[in-house]
C-alpha cells in the first residue's frame, strides 16, 4: 500500500533519517519501535506532508506520490504525539471541526462524531470542554479527531504516552477495532509490549536507521535469540567483571548489566547457566534471583541495538 524507499532527512546538525526502506501492507499494522530521537516523528511528519524529505521516494499503491497531494492527505489520518486539540472547545466541537477540514457533510460528520465518541467512551462528556478532561481522555479525543474522515491509512505517533491504564486499554481496544475494519496503521512507540501485542510487523528504528523489520517470529529468527535469563545480584561494592563472566560465551550470548541485574540473551543459555553462575560465585557475587525470560521484543531490541529501549 505505502512503500518508502531510501528516504533521508537531515537537519543542520544531524541526520534524522538515513536511507529508510519500509513497506506498509494494506490492512496491516506496522510498529515502528525506537528510542526518543530515533527519527520516528520525523518519518511521520514526512509521510503526512508536513516536512519535506531530502531524498528517497514514497509510493502509494505502487505510484510515486507527493505527500502534499490533497487526495493522499484525504486518505490519511494522523494522530500526533502531542494533544493537538482546541482546549476551549468541547470534544464534540473539536471532532466536528477536524472532520469539516476533510469535506465531511455536517450530517455525516455528526453521525461519525457520535459513533467515535461512543467507541472511545466519551459520549457522556461530549459537550464538556477539552481542557476539563483528564490526560487519558484528551489522548482518546486526540485519536478520534484523526479518524472522523475514515482514512484508510493511519499514522499514530506514540498515542499512549503518559496515560492511565484504563485509557490505555480503551485505546488498545479501539486500535484492535480499527485493525479489524481493515485499516492500515503505522504505529510508533517506545513501549515494547504495545508493539509486540498490537502490531503485525515491527521495524526497529535507531539513530535514523531501520535496523531490522519483520514479524515478531521473523525478528526472533533473525536475531537468533532463543532464550534469555536475568540474574539479579545482591548489592555489592565489588565491581561486576562482565568480561570474566562472558569470556567463554561472548560469541554465543549477549550480556547486559544494569544496576544489579545481568541479562544474558542467546541460544543454549540453559546448558551454559551452571558454568556462568559458578564464574559469578567465584567473583564473590551473591545471587538474589534467577529469572528465565520468554523471548520478547525487549531481548530482540537489545540484541540489535546493544541497549535496552527503556534506557
Amino acid at each position: 500500500m505505502l512503500s518508502i524507499s531510501a528516504l533521508s532527512k537531515s537537519y543542520p546538525n544531524h541526520a534524522a533519517l538515513k536511507q529508510i526502506d519500509l513497506h506498509l501492507q494494506e490492512g496491516k499494522m506496522l510498529g515502528l519501535l525506537g528510542p526518543n530521537g530515533a527519527g520516528k516523528t520525523t518519518l511521520i511528519n514526512i509521510l503526512s506532508g508536513l516536512s519535506k524529505r531530502d531524498a528517497g521516494t514514497i509510493s502509494w499503491f505502487n505510484k510515486e506520490i507527493a505527500t502534499t497531494d490533497s487526495r493522499y492527505k484525504q486518505s490519511i489520518g494522523v494522530v500526533p504525539q502531542e494533544i493537538s486539540l482546541y482546549q476551549d472547545l468541547s470534544a464534540y466541537q473539536n471532532l466536528l471541526f477536524w472532520g469539516s477540514l476533510y469535506g465531511l457533510k455536517k450530517s455525516v460528520s455528526k453521525e461519525k462524531t457520535d459513533r467515535i465518541l461512543q467507541d472511545l467512551g466519551l459520549y457522556d462528556r461530549r459537550h464538556d470542554l477539552v481542557k476539563t478532561y483528564s490526560g487519558g481522555m484528551k489522548r482518546r479525543i486526540n485519536i478520534g479527531a484523526a479518524l472522523l474522515h475514515d482514512p484508510s491509512l493511519i499514522f499514530m505517533d506514540e498515542p499512549t504516552v503518559g496515560i492511565d491504564p484504563q485509557s490505555r486499554n480503551l485505546i488498545y481496544n479501539y486500535i484492535e477495532k480499527l485493525k479489524t475494519s481493515g485499516k492500515t496503521i503505522l504505529y510508533t512507540t517506545h513501549y515494547l509490549e504495545e508493539a509486540e501485542n498490537l502490531c503485525d510487523r515491527i521495524a526497529i528504528l535507531d539513530n535514523g536507521k531501520i535496523i531490522v523489520q519483520g514479524t515478531l517470529d521473523e525478528l526472533r529468527t533473525i536475531s537468533k535469540i532463543q532464550e534469555s535469563v536475568e540474574i539479579l545480584l545482591y548489592a555489592t561494592e565489588l565491581p561486576v567483571d562482565i568480561a570474566a563472566i562472558s569470556a567463554e560465551y561472548q560469541h554465543r550470548f549477549s550480556f547486559y548489566l544494569k544496576d544489579h541485574a545481568l541479562t544474558i540473551s542467546g541460544s543454549g543459555i540453559a546448558e551454559a547457566l551452571p558454568d556462568l553462575l559458578s564464574t559469578m560465585i567465584n567473583q564473590s557475587l551473591k545471587i538474589k534471583k534467577i529469572e528465565i525470560k520468554k523471548i520478547n521484543l525487549e531481548n530482540i531490541f537489545l540484541q540489535f541495538t546493544g541497549y535496552q529501549l527503556r534506557d
Binding site: 537537519y11 511528519n45 503526512s48 506532508g49 508536513l50 516536512s51 519535506k52 490533497s70 492527505k73 484525504q74 490519511i76 494522523v78 500526533p80 502531542e82 494533544i83 493537538s84 486539540l85 482546541y86 482546549q87 477536524w98 477540514l101 476533510y102 469535506g103 479527531a145
Partner: protein, 406 residues
Amino acid sequence: MKIFFCSSQATNSETDMFKILQKDLLLLFSDKRALAFKFLLPVLLISVFVLAFSGMRSDNDGPGIQKISLPVVDLDSSETTRYIVRQLSQIPSFNLEHVDSIQADKLVRTGKRIGVLVLHKGFSDAFSAQTPLPWELVYQEGRDMELGILKSILLPNLRKLNPFHTPDGNISDNSPANSGAPLDLSGMQLTFRPLAQEPAFRNDPWLVQPVVGIALILLLFNVSGIGGSLLEEKETGTLKRLLQSPLKPAGLFWAKMLQGMFISFIQLSIMFLAAMLIFGLHIEYNIPGLLLIMLATTFSFSSFGLLLAGISKTRGQMQGIAIAIILLMSALGGSMIPIFIMPDFMQKLARLSVNYWGLEAFYDLWWRQLPLRLILPKIGILVSIGLLITSVAYLFFRRFIRRLAS
C-alpha cells in the same frame, strides 16, 4: 503572638530569592528581540512624543518648528497687496503659497490647509482711503484649535507690518524720514469667515479625533491578537495538525486574515455606533464611503497582525513587539497626538504609519465630508499598505511554516 526570626532560614530565603532573580534574568536575557523592544520602546516613545509636541513649544526655533502653510489669493494684484504678501512671507512660521481662488477652495475644503488668506479686489483703494480693508481668512469650520494657532502667529505679525503711506497713495518700505506718515493700523482688521459647507450635520474634529484615534489603536491590539492566535496554534500543536490536513498553508493564512478583518469590522462598528449614540457622532453621512474605509482599514490592519505573527517566535515575544509597534505607530500616526500640532517633518513622517491613513480617511468622511471620489485615494493607499504588508507577512508566514515543519 510572638514572631520568631530564624537567621539561618532568612539566609536560605535570601539565597533562594537571588536564585529566583538569577533565573528570571536568565529567562529575560534569553530573548534578545523582546529585550531590545523592552528597553528601546520607552526611549523611542519619548522621542516620538517630544518631537511631536516640539511644534507647540514657544522657544522652538530649530528644525522642529511647525511651519504653517498659508495659501494666499491676491485678487487685487496691486503694489500694496504685493507688499503685504512680501512682508508676510518673511514671517518664519509661515510657508506662504500663491494660489488662485479655485485651488484655495480645494485646499481648504479637502483639509489640506487650515485656511486661505484672500486679498480682494479694491484692497489698495481701501488702503489709500483708510476704509476697512477687503481681506479675509477663509477657514475650514471645525478646525478651531488649528485656527487658534494660525491666529496666534498671524495677527501679531500683521500688527508688526508697519507700512508707510507714500504721497501717491501707495505704501513704502522706507523709513518715516524718507516718506509719508505711518498708516493707521486699526483699518487693517482681518475678517475670519468659515468656508460654506453643504451638509447640515458636521462632526466636531474634537469628537472625530478621539473616536477614530482610539478605535484605530484598539484595532491594532485586536489584530495583534489574531497574530497571537496563530502562534497559539503553533504552541498547542494544532497548527501542525492543520497542516497535515488537506488544508493548504495559503488557506490557513487567508482564514486568519478574514478572521482579523471580520472581528475588526465588528469592533469598529460597535465603537462607531456607541460614539453615535453616546456622543452624537454623525456616522450616517456617506454610508458606502464608511463601509469602504472600514473594509480598507480592517484589511491593512489585519495584515499587520499577521506580519507580527510571522516575525515573532513566541506569543510572549509577539506581545512585546506588538505593544512597541502599536504605541509607536499610534503616536506617530496621529491616534494619540493630533497631526496638526506636530512639526512639519513629523507630519511627513506620520505618513509611514497606517494609523495616519486610517485617521485621514475618517477625517475626510466625517469632518471634511468630502465626496467618495475625493476619499478614494486615501482608501487606495490603505489598501496598498494592506497589500504590501500582506505580501511581506505571507513571506514570513511561509518561513514560519517551514520552521515548524523542520
